[in-house]
Amino acid sequence: MRRRPLFWFFVYLALSLLAVFYLVPIYVLVVNALKDYREVSVEAMWRLPEHLSLASFAKAWFGDPGTGMTGLGQNFMNSVKLVVPAVFLSVLLGSINGYVLAQWRFRGSETLFFLLLFGMFIPYQSILIPLVKVLMALHLYGTIPGLVLTHVVYGIPITTLIFRNYYAQIPRELVDAAQIDGAAVMGVYRYVILPLSAPGTVVAVIWQFTQIWNDFLFGVVITNKPDVQPITVALNNLAGSFIVEWNVQMAGALLAALPTLLVYVLMGRYFIRGLLAGSVKG
């Protein structure tokens, strides 16, 4: 179909308007976070900074000992310490589960898959109280390992789903051929499935990384000491206190957003695949 220039004009106009809508909040965050203290005022929110200053970022990261404000730096590191093992473990479990459910279906395996998937949709409020009690009994309450365990367990459904859908595309003949060569269940996984897993793994890793980094509910319930809290929780505390200037809050928000934004911009394609996988039928 050939289209007239007027058509393209309206398409670009509409696309640009949408782009403005999506970029405005980011613009406000960036512009104000970069302002010098003297330039910050509520009335000048939309203005570009006259002098670029990283002072807000420094204050958001390091805090201000003078007023007792603690910085987000340590919470950023807490999130890193949380995300790395939690992503690794949940992706590993998801890969194994996905393999079994895609290639070794047995009677009832579909039902089990259904029961697993339901765990992805439950409102976590319905498990929070027992979760806190169990973590307390395990001496994991208020700790990062406790948070890791939580994210691993509740990450199983989505990672399993991603891998099952991915492995379902691997032709059964490859598996059968490996079996004829004498490979057992683990052998097939090791020699056939794993070497083919890279794209699925990237999707799962990016998805879990984003989810866990951005989580707030588990963080706020399980870690209540400020020095153990992940960055989302600390950012919310920072933003909730009126002592902290709002440009510092915005700098803090950007610091918290940086890792996931970076991953998104660099590997957006995989991120979107994870997104689509979440609606069950990929």
């Binding site: 007792g68 009690k133 307390m136 208020g142 209540n224 400020p226 505390n237 206190s241 009126f242």
Partner: protein, 414 residues
């Protein structure tokens, strides 16, 4: 949360571990004093402590944020997990008693009270709030007053006004100012406790000190005409507040007084410290309407957890907190008065001197919004009620919710 049996075992384990560590000469003090005058006051106390006990290393376990709500959450986990600090900041009254005393986490402090004659230097009204089951459970460091009317002097002079003593006087003044485009009453309840705070002064003004105290023991009927009248008065007051009150915090409401946009503000005496910090001197103060002769008090106190790892060091801390020297050092910085009645007034600013005077003669009642009058879950239910009431002003619904909250708290039967 029923942590009963298994947590007892854990607690015992920690207690034994604690004994082994106890010779270190350490003191861990838990509070939410992390900024401004509060932190300065705390550091001053640490300094005095070090002079007296140079061998002891002090660990400042202060938790910032959320006006103490973060700290309370951390404390809850530490206490339940068998890892208490040596001593912790807690509001006088039910916040301490119902959460930690009735549940057996604290040590009684009768010995200290006897040794230092504290029963003679703290007022009776305070002693009553500190006592439960015949024992004392914490040492008050300071006293704040909640029921103060602050006003902009320039506006009051311009209109030839005097601080209103009764609600009728208050409404007469408010009407006059409103007609002239001045906000009669400032309010900043983006933290809903500020509304509860205002309402408690109305309850006191309506029911009188005894009637008000009876609310917390089941003697005053929440379904009775007194509470209804208080809600009606409160609703009327809300017609005179700044329309953007829900967007403002308590100190942003105070800015309205400083800017001369609002005339009156009924709030606690930390407002005074806010004026001083913002270098504003055009303000006056008086008891809130209907609150003459009543001191609506809240206090930060320190107690001794049973499993405190450094018990002796903690006792030294409590001695200091209760001493004249400690209170005189701490309170001028914190912007509060001594819980003791024998502090030297010359150390304090004019407002605090006035408050010290009143402290000796007024009837003392416990503050609701600040943890003294009711336990935390009860207060939460009252805050919920206020959140609705300030918008819909539905007296019947609010009274019903308040009565239900008293039943839920196990104090009322209907």
């Amino acid at each position: 949360m029923k942590l009963g049996k298994w947590s007892a075992g854990i607690l015992l384990g920690f207690a034994l571990a604690g004994l082994a560590l106890a010779q270190g000469g350490k003191l861990e003090i838990f509070s939410w004093w992390t900024t401004g005058g509060e932190a300065a006051g705390l550091f001053k106390l640490f300094e005095l402590y070090k002079q007296k006990h140079p061998g002891v290393e002090i660990i400042n376990a202060a938790v910032a944020g959320g006006a103490g709500s973060n700290a309370k959450a951390v404390l809850k986990t530490r206490m339940l997990g068998g890892d208490p600090p040596d001593s912790f900041q807690v509001h006088m009254g039910h916040e301490l008693i119902d959460t930690w005393v009735t549940t057996g986490f604290m040590e009684p402090l009768d010995q200290l009270y006897k040794e230092y004659g504290w029963e003679k230097v703290f007022p009776k009204g305070v002693l009553a709030l500190l006592k439960w089951n015949g024992h004392y459970w914490s040492v008050p460091a300071n006293i704040h007053r909640a029921n103060v009317l602050w006003y902009n002097k320039a506006i009051f002079e311009k209109y030839g006004l005097k601080p209103p003593k009764t609600f009728d006087e208050f409404f007469a003044i408010a009407e006059k100012l409103k007609k002239d485009g001045i906000i009669p009453l400032a309010l900043g309840d983006n933290g809903i406790w500020a509304s509860t705070h205002l309402f408690e002064t109305v309850l006191i003004g309506t029911l009188g000190p005894e009637g008000y105290k009876g609310l917390w023991t089941g003697q005053t009927d929440w379904r009775g005409p007194g509470v209804k009248k208080a809600l009606e008065t409160f609703a009327r007051m809300l017609d005179y507040v700044n329309p953007d009150h829900a967007a403002r915090s308590w100190d942003q409401a105070n800015d309205l007084i400083i800017q001369g946009k609002a005339a009156m503000y009924i709030h606690g005496d930390w407002v005074n410290a806010d004026y001083l910090a913002k270098k504003f001197s055009g303000y006056g103060w008086a008891p809130a309407p209907g609150n003459y002769g009543v001191y609506d008090a809240l206090s930060d106190t320190f107690g001794l957890p049973k499993k405190a790892p450094h018990r002796q060091e903690a006792i030294w801390w409590l001695e200091l907190v209760g001493s004249k020297e400690g209170q005189e050092a701490f309170n001028p910085l914190k912007g509060s008065i001594c819980a003791r009645t024998d502090c030297d007034p010359k150390l304090f600013n004019p407002y605090l001197q006035w408050a010290m005077q009143q402290w000796k003669t007024d009837t003392i009642v416990p503050s609701l919004a600040h943890g003294a009058a009711a336990k935390e879950s009860w207060l939460a239910a009252i805050n919920d009620t206020m959140s609705l009431f300030v918008t819909n002003k539905n007296v019947a619904q609010a009274q019903n919710m308040l009565a239900q909250a008293c039943v839920d708290a196990g104090v009322c039967t209907r």
